[in-house]
Symmetry: C2
Subunit: 273 residues, 2 copies
Amino acid sequence: VSTWINGRSRTTIDHRDRGLQYGDGVFETMRVRHRRIRLLDYHMERLYEGCRRLKIAAPNQAMLRRELVSRAAERADAVLKLIVTRGIGPRGYRPSGQERCTRVISRHALPGDRAGSMLEPKRVRMCDTRIGMNPALAGLKTLNRLESVVARGEWRDVHVWEGLMRDVEGNVVCGTLSNFFIRRGSFLMTPMLDRCGIAGVMRRWVLEQARSLGLRTLEGRLRWEEFGGAEEAFMTNAVAGIVSVAVIQQGADRVEFKHGETADRLRARLELL
Amino acid sequence: VSTWINGRSRTTIDHRDRGLQYGDGVFETMRVRHRRIRLLDYHMERLYEGCRRLKIAAPNQAMLRRELVSRAAERADAVLKLIVTRGIGPRGYRPSGQERCTRVISRHALPGDRAGSMLEPKRVRMCDTRIGMNPALAGLKTLNRLESVVARGEWRDVHVWEGLMRDVEGNVVCGTLSNFFIRRGSFLMTPMLDRCGIAGVMRRWVLEQARSLGLRTLEGRLRWEEFGGAEEAFMTNAVAGIVSVAVIQQGADRVEFKHGETADRLRARLELL
């Protein structure tokens, strides 16, 4: 891992940083391919939207972009993680409004795939851990990720790639580290993220591609009971891209999906980015 | 501020610490009076309960207790904050199970009271920011505190001491940094924390005192509409103790409360601790 904090090669942060104290910040996890950041504009837009909604004084955008581009250019393939916290503040939840943000950029090797090639359809499980509904934070990729940590801690079977999480009303929202899509005929459906969940950059890209693939998109409430009628299911994130789902298990129940032609076409397009 | 990290006088933590990356940890904020930590046993019980539920390998209890007691003994009055994170881990939500926890102890001066003496009844507002329901984390004082940060950011009026937060169904849960009680006759009511909210150590102490004050306790769902019938209201936390509420405002609406005799009696008992 190589790390830069506020532009300098460093590995430690002040314990008073509100990122540690309260999870008061946002992050992006980006895929570097051919020395370039895939979907960089989308990452930047989400990051700045998060800072705006949380009233975090964001880093200068041109400067941050230059820094990310130059860190990406040093590796053919990598993962870049960017954390932006509100910065150091006195004890107490209330931001003073005078904080200067902290930015942490870390560069990692691509994850080894414990569950086989990402081109193989994957096994997915339904998690018991629920996602709390909070419209004020919905869609944002904040540093408050304990729900994902607890959900991801539910299983150790390396053949299960991902877990699907539901809100307290039982609606499917997203995976622990991905977004979820099902296709029925020409309808591509994904959960609405107005009350909870993270609006992934790859999810956005898929929704934007759909029309030119002859698909109509539907963002709504989606339940386990509705999976049976779907022809294909896939999950998305910025690092893994488009990952087809072979089967979703919930205890003794399971729903299987056919080979995913939409996922194939999306992957082919993603290769061209 | 004086700070000790894993027992050494230090001020920085590794950026890979899961406390920063995911808010993967818990904390306690303790009041030092007469060189001793008030309600230390309750703080320790909540901390270890949090570690147990999150499967964080907790610090040795005897060692931690010795350390806290010795930091407290160096000041007549202070606030001690203890953070325990899961520790440093590789990128990814799933804990390896091999992490060694990080403990951060910081000692602070008592907060200046921006809204006058803590013995004066306080003004409280209803917050717009809602608390997400999450039974897996309910009651715990985790490092995922963005909801409190956003709620506390709603007002700047120094005469408003605290804000009350509701869950997405509109039930009152707790303040941004305190728990909430109302009394009607001999019934002392406080919100149930089975779905969200933090179970404060001072809340626990109040519930345990109630019987010997001739009060019956009721933990349930509590709504704004029910405040009108109450004779007194107060809020509690480990540092401020028992704080009487004079008025709660919601937009143009307001509910006023009489002078709080139960709060007075609780404060008198707290003085003896």
